[in-house]
């Protein structure tokens, strides 16, 4: 899980499977967009950061946190979860400094992680930041509320809270998050300065082929798994049909002998793999017609009654 405050919403709760992401990202580049795209899915979460139209950062973290991908690997995986169709895309606008700060935070190293805020001496923590001149970010979060406090050389730069697009110096919302039950915090040290210049990932590689390749691979996989599912469904249906046929043959054998078994074999060709009611009705009619040549109505009716009972007990 990647905890980040929401910026100014541009698009919310969009299904990225319905979007051509390279084209959408190209539009963001053309519009000199600054902010981040957040992709949430059951498999994991991805964040793509734009700074003045440059795609400067991409990060993907799997839901179990065993997989952490950056740059093109992250983009490819983000494309993958998007194409799979069960992801949600939110786009938030930020100021460029904050976008870089977010990037630095996502690539920072943890000094504290998942600590219970109520068990920590806040003043002691702030003193440590100040004394050790830490540059980084204190992330406070509870439920889906997150606030970030940025530090440079041990001095607080300000807060980034939900719904904002810039670092502010007021701390009202911070306090409100801090009051929520189960509130936790992370302290991350960042290696990058706020004015760091980052490369444009879209400039150094065309995302179109990555998108197309991922899409093709996933569609192939989907087709294969669908074919496999169809095959296995057909196999199950055929197995079920064969079991019913065996039972019908056994009943016919008991009532009108071995010849009855052959008659069932022939009449059962009218029954398809999904054993429809009307097909069974035709089967009974055909079997009755054939059986009339070797047995009387009493025996035939007893046989058909038993068969119908057997067929209905399977439903």
């Amino acid at each position: 899980m990647i905890f980040l405050p929401r910026g100014i919403p541009v698009r919310e709760k969009v299904n990225p499977a319905r979007i051509n992401l390279p084209e959408a990202m190209a539009k963001l580049r053309d519009g000199s967009f600054t902010g981040y795209l957040r992709f949430d899915s059951a498999q994991g979460t991805g964040v793509v950061i734009f700074e003045r139209g440059k795609l400067v950062s991409a990060l993907y973290i799997a839901a179990d946190e065993k997989e952490r991908l950056i740059a093109y690997d992250a983009i490819a995986r983000i494309f993958e979860i998007s194409i799979l169709g069960n992801a949600t895309l939110n786009i938030f606008r930020l100021v460029p400094e904050l976008a870089i700060g977010i990037h630095a935070l996502l690539h920072g190293s943890y000094l504290y992680r998942g600590q219970d805020l109520k068990l920590v001496n806040i003043e002691g923590l702030q003193r440590r930041i100040r004394d050790e001149q830490i540059s980084g970010c204190l992330r406070v979060y509870a439920e889906d509320k997150v606030v970030l406090i940025f530090y440079e050389q041990g001095h607080s730069l300000g807060f980034f809270h939900d719904g904002g697009d810039d670092i502010v110096t007021t701390a009202d919302l911070t306090r409100s998050v801090a009051r929520l039950p189960g509130v936790r915090f992370d302290l991350l040290e960042t290696a990058y300065g706020r004015n760091l210049m980052l490369a444009d990932l879209m400039a150094s590689a065309d995302l179109g082929p990555i998108w197309q390749r991922t899409r093709k691979l996933l569609l192939d996989d989907r087709r294969k798994s669908e074919e496999k599912a169809i095959r296995s469904m057909e196999e199950r249906q055929e197995l079920r049909r064969q079991q019913l046929l065996l039972q019908m043959k056994a009943i016919a054998g008991n009532h009108i002998g071995k010849f009855g078994i052959s008659q069932v074999d022939k009449a059962f060709s009218l029954v398809g793999p999904d054993i429809r009611v009307e097909e069974l009705a035709k089967f009974y009619d055909e079997l009755q017609r054939l059986a009339k040549l070797v047995a009387g109505p009493k025996k035939i009716n007893a046989m058909l009654d038993e068969m119908k009972q057997q067929a209905s007990s399977r439903d």
Partner: protein
């Protein structure tokens, strides 16, 4: 009591049993039943000659023999259909078509007899030999075909009926075979020279006829009971 009357009565019973069985059962039985009903006609015509004046007409007698020939043809065709069914489980056609087909053959035979010269005694003898030949050889074929049918359906309720049919054709073989033997060797002309074999042939013929009529009636009654 005249043996002819016994024959007529027994064949009437057999014919009625056969015809009623054909009405109440599947199409594949129709040809077999109609064939046995035709035996009734073929037997009644010559047997009734002493009682019904007019039947002694050579054309009527010829028609009687032809009807007998048609009977064994239709019966054989019926068993052939049943044999096919026992192997392929395919049955085609309708009962009405069988009735109409047999009727058409009989009408055509009648026309054939009427448009030709009045049959002499020699002509009648040859027609009768043809009839008996058909019966003898087709009986043997039918016994083998019924044996095969029995093998295919032997554990079904109806299977014992086919054993009965084998006996029927065994009796038919004796009945018609004895008559054919007498006709082929002309034993009736030289009966005084070969009295024993002639008499044995006559007895076999009469007893064969009697047993056939009884066994046909009994077989259809057994079949009706088995298919109840």
């Amino acid at each position: 009591m005249d043996l002819n009357i016994v024959h007529i009565v027994l064949w009437l019973i057999a014919g009625l049993a056969s015809f009623s069985f054909s009405l109440g059962n599947a199409r594949v039985w129709t040809s077999i039943c109609v064939g046995f009903v035709l035996i009734l006609l073929a037997e009644v015509i010559p047997a009734a000659i002493p009682f019904l004046p007019g039947l002694q007409l050579p054309q009527v007698q010829a028609l009687g023999y032809i009807t007998g020939t048609v009977a064994i043809m239709v019966i054989t065709h019926g068993f052939q259909e049943y044999y096919m069914f026992s192997r392929t489980l395919e049955v085609e056609g309708q009962k009405l078509h069988v009735y109409l087909g047999v009727l058409a053959v009989l009408v055509a035979s009648m026309l054939f007899v009427l448009i030709n010269p009045t049959p002499t005694s020699e002509t009648l003898r040859i027609i009768n030999i043809v009839e008996n030949s058909c019966w003898v050889f087709l009986s043997v074929i039918n016994i083998d075909m019924i044996r095969k049918i029995y093998q295919a359906v032997k554990d079904t309720p109806i299977s014992r009926g086919f054993i009965a049919f084998m006996f029927v054709f065994g009796f038919i073989f004796l009945w018609k075979g004895a008559a054919l033997y007498v006709q082929v060797y002309g034993l009736d002309m030289v009966a005084d020279q070969f009295p024993v074999r002639y008499k044995i042939s006559l007895y076999v013929h009469e007893i064969g006829n009697l047993l056939t009529s009884i066994s046909v009636g009994a077989t259809f009654m057994i079949l009706a009971r088995l298919l109840r």
